[in-house]
């Protein structure tokens, strides 16, 4: 159940008051709520529909130079007092800090983000099933089976702190995922993610995934080695996600663990590569402020191949003597590195179509999507993972054979430093904690180190 603006702001403000009464002099209360309807389908039929509500209140409180943090999903007065007490106990058990984190000052007006679509926020299980049915209908004639899920709903966030800041935002969410599998074992994938499901094209999404799975009847083997590759948007987005926290977070630059340490001001990528983090774009999905309550803002990370900037939260900004860019994190969800990271990145598109990118490859790979990508060496940006849901061999500019899922081991920096072309098919893609807006790319540097069986 969404609380709505008045109740959510009242909750975080009351949490601050109760905690202040308990002796805290540094307080941040963050409420995060989500109402999601999830309908799963498998073998062309709806399998299950659920409704999910997850409200959580996080409280971080400082007592002198010690910090404690706790969370709850019960919001009555007794529970708030108990929560405040827990932060006091946890702070007493923590070590003294040399400096306390900063608090965001009150903001008169947060940036505007168009993010509320009532039809998507309030979509019923029946309406979700109708969208799925339209997609499944597209594949009725063939032998390729479809499975996936459709999510509709809304999320909201409220922040208050002991400096007097109070902020609230709500947005609708829609995700429609189609995976396909052919009798040959060939697979396909297509996904829509956005604030509104109003304009979603179920037959079109299904067709993309269906066609890919049915391209070939058998798999062809591939010798490990270095290959030119076309990465479709979902694959590009995952590489960019890892670069977002391994390369563009300020903490890694301050402690020199970033894979782009010392690179600010340097030409690292080709001149036609520009990347920004832009949470406020209409076609992005983000909130106007971060969990610390700082307004989010656009940061130019790479400009015509030169690394220009990194993203900050309040802590790194204080250390670096600059202002936060609104890239603080939720208290939970630490991902391999600490500190802020770029999670709403935009890779500037060019003019080539996906087909044109493929036509420019003499011998190489077409990759739909990556899976379970993890850093092997964070300081150099080396990642390993698997391809999935459609990996193909390109020969003489055409898709020539279906490949099994391949293990790759690449440096995210090298892969993007060796971009040959950028496509025009700008697509919002999400996985883990990112929401990156990216096109397909063609890179010279994709190293295959194994395959599945």
């Amino acid at each position: 159940m969404m609380l709505g603006q008045d109740r959510a702001q009242e909750l975080v403000s009351r949490a601050v008051e109760v905690t202040r009464d308990g002796g805290a002099d540094y307080i941040v209360a963050l409420y995060s709520g989500k109402d999601e309807g999830l309908t799963r389908y498998c073998n062309d039929a709806v399998q299950m529909s659920t409704e999910y509500s997850q409200p959580t209140l996080y409280l971080q409180a400082g007592y002198g130079n010690r910090l404690g943090a706790a969370g709850t999903n019960v919001f009555d007065e007794i529970s708030l007092s108990r929560l405040a007490g827990q932060t006091r106990i946890l702070a007493a058990g923590s070590t003294d800090r040399t400096h306390m984190p900063r608090l965001a000052p009150p903001v008169r007006t947060m940036p505007g983000v168009e993010s509320w679509h009532p039809e998507t926020a309030g979509m019923s299980p029946g309406e979700r099933a109708d969208i799925i049915a339209r997609a499944v209908h597209e594949g009725e004639e063939g032998e390729v089976r479809m499975f996936g899920h459709l999510v509709s709903g809304a999320e909201e966030r409220a922040v208050a702190n002991s400096e007097g800041l109070v902020a609230y935002h709500a947005g609708s969410v829609g995700r429609f995922q189609v995976s396909t599998i052919a009798p040959s074992g060939g697979m396909g994938f297509a996904r829509f993610v956005g604030r509104s499901l109003d304009g979603v094209d179920p037959p079109g999404i299904a067709r993309r995934a269906l066609d890919k799975a049915a391209l070939f009847d058998t798999f062809t083997d591939l010798v490990p080695g270095e290959y030119e590759a076309v990465l479709e948007p979902e694959a590009t987005a995952e590489i960019l996600f890892h670069l977002g926290y391994l390369g563009f977070g300020a903490a890694g630059h301050l402690n020199e663990s970033s894979c782009l340490s010392g690179a600010v001001g340097e030409q690292v990528f080709p001149h036609f590569v520009s990347i920004c983090d832009d949470p406020l774009r209409k076609d992005q999905m983000s909130e106007p402020f971060d969990p610390e309550g700082v307004p989010r803002r656009r940061v130019q990370l790479v400009e015509r191949g030169t690394v220009r900037g990194v993203v900050h939260d309040l802590n790194t900004a204080a250390q670096a003597g600059t202002a936060s860019t609104g890239h603080g994190r939720k208290p939970e969800g630490v991902w391999f590195t600490d500190g802020p990271y770029a999670r709403n990145m935009v890779l500037e598109p060019a003019t080539a179509s996906r087909q044109e990118l493929i036509s420019r490859v003499n011998r190489g790979l077409l990759i739909t999507r990556l899976h379970y990508t993890r850093p092997l060496d964070a300081s150099s940006g080396v990642l390993t993972g698997m391809t999935r849901d459609g990996t193909f061999l390109i020969e003489d500019g055409v898709i020539a054979a279906m490949l099994p899922n391949l293990r790759f081991t690449v440096s995210a920096v090298d892969l993007l430093a060796h971009i040959l072309d950028i496509g025009c098919d700008l697509t919002l893609a999400t996985e883990y904690f990112h929401m990156n807006l990216v096109p397909s790319i063609r890179t010279r540097h994709f190293r295959v180190t194994g395959r599945t069986e």
């Binding site: 659920t50 379970y372 092997l376 440096s411």
Partner: protein, 146 residues
């Protein structure tokens, strides 16, 4: 092929009340063998010693995996040697387990775990814990880098 167990083994897991339970093997344990880790190293003419984990990746059929370790050492003539940079190993799951030729004893056994093992779509995260002793695998592919 082993006979499937009769009935549920009680391994349905979900990360919240509102997500559909899926089959999760959150507490797979390895029965101990015998001997110490020092004995195992002494019994290894040429190999590598991997300690801890810092990165893990596996394909969607749970076959091809790659693990990055916190630390790695060469083993030469039964003795630990040089410290290795960015140690890691990779393989195909059943083949690697089929190559296991030694498991150390209960005195070396510990419970290791992760707080965020993800499965399913949409993703569900669970804590996992595994009681194991150091073990030796023959013919493991090591040292893959970019």
């Amino acid at each position: 092929m082993p006979e499937p167990a009769q009935g549920s083994g009680g391994h349905a897991r979900c990360d919240t009340w509102a997500r559909p339970p899926i089959v999760r093997m959150t507490n797979i344990n390895l029965e101990p063998g015998s001997g110490s880790l020092d004995d195992l190293i002494a019994d290894t003419r040429r190999g590598y010693l991997f300690e801890g984990e810092r990165s893990w990746s596996i394909d969607d059929r749970r076959l091809n995996f790659a693990i990055g370790a916190q630390a790695g050492r060469e083993i030469v003539d039964g003795r630990p040697g040089r410290l290795l940079k960015n140690p890691g190993y990779t393989g195909i799951t059943p083949r690697v387990w089929g190559s296991c030729d030694a498991v150390t004893g209960p005195e070396e056994r510990g419970v290791w775990g992760l707080t965020g093992c993800g499965k399913g779509a949409p993703m569900q995260n669970l804590h996992v814990g595994h009681a194991v002793s150091p073990a030796r695998f023959r013919g493991l592919k090591v040292g893959v880098s970019s």
